[in-house]
Symmetry: C2
Subunit: 184 residues, 2 copies
């Protein structure tokens, strides 16, 4: 691992900090404290926000009948960057993972059910990852919401954009074939 | 580039060959000649084969009403490895690419139209890559086959298997959202 959370990066940052002017380090520490204090979780959707409810939840131009269910707050940023989604969000705050001791009751599912009762939601778009836990959680949720009259969909699995068949693994190819759609 | 077709690999192979026992090199050269002589293009689907028609075209257990359209013969191997497809194939032998001077008449489209008339084909599954040329070729073909009564589908675009949202680019995410499917 060599990403922002790797031991190597941590070491690099630590070495940089102890060699930086004391005043700059003090300012950085202060900024970290303020950010930690101001950023909270939106009580409605679970996104990171400075205001309650968050800017997406309170935006009247967004389609309130659509909820996109994501694993973590950072996934909202990914989807917002794609610029194609105009509904609201709900952060699950994890995936069902018996091996790691995470059950449905550890996730923000009850909060979502409260929203289903209070708001007029027509569709829940499950945008979890395509790994085993993502699959299991998606099927669990689809089953749990089956009686509510809300449509449950899942984002497509398939070939990533700009890619050829030669770069796709077997499971991706078989899901891409299975999920084929008619061209009109 | 460091793949099998890179200058680096070519150099490595060349250096290996000139230092190998002469008899082994002669056998290798012979094997290459025989392979080149025996392997032909299937006159029906365009796959690489030693017999006419190829083993897939002549297999009665495969669904003859489905044709999977691929760019190159090697794509057939990728899809066969996924083990989920049981129809037949057709190799387009390229993609429409005006910048490279490749037009529809340079591809095996007329051969496919001959097959559409002779065989009882219900669906053409376009399994081209998801780059600009793949998109353009897919739409061109869908339009061209629109009057034939054959259903034209395209393999799904979306998140590759085993992946999370954080690894997907914006275009892939927007196509994954757009191609979402209901879970039952």
């Amino acid at each position: 691992m060599n990403g922002p959370g790797s031991p190597r990066s941590a070491e690099r940052i630590a070495l940089h900090l102890v060699q930086t002017e004391a005043e700059s380090v003090r300012q950085l520490a202060q900024a970290i404290l303020v950010a930690r204090e101001r950023i909270q979780t939106c009580r409605t959707c679970g996104a990171l926000t400075e205001v309650q409810p968050c800017n997406i939840c309170s935006d009247p131009r967004r389609d309130a009948s659509l909820i996109c269910l994501v694993e973590q707050p950072v996934d909202i940023i990914s989807i917002e960057k794609s610029g194609t989604y105009h509904g609201k969000y709900h952060v699950l705050a994890g995936k069902i993972s018996p091996l790691n001791g995470v059950g449905p009751e550890d996730l923000r599912i009850a909060d979502l059910e409260t929203r289903l009762r209070k708001e007029t939601i027509k569709e829940i778009i499950i945008a979890l990852g395509t790994d085993v836990e993502g699959d299991a959680t998606s099927f669990y949720l689809a089953k749990r919401f089956a009686g509510t009259g809300v449509k449950t969909t899942r984002i497509a699995h398939g070939l990533p954009a700009g890619s050829g068949l030669e770069f796709a693994d077997e499971l991706t190819l078989s899901r891409a074939l299975e999920g084929r759609r008619e061209i009109h």
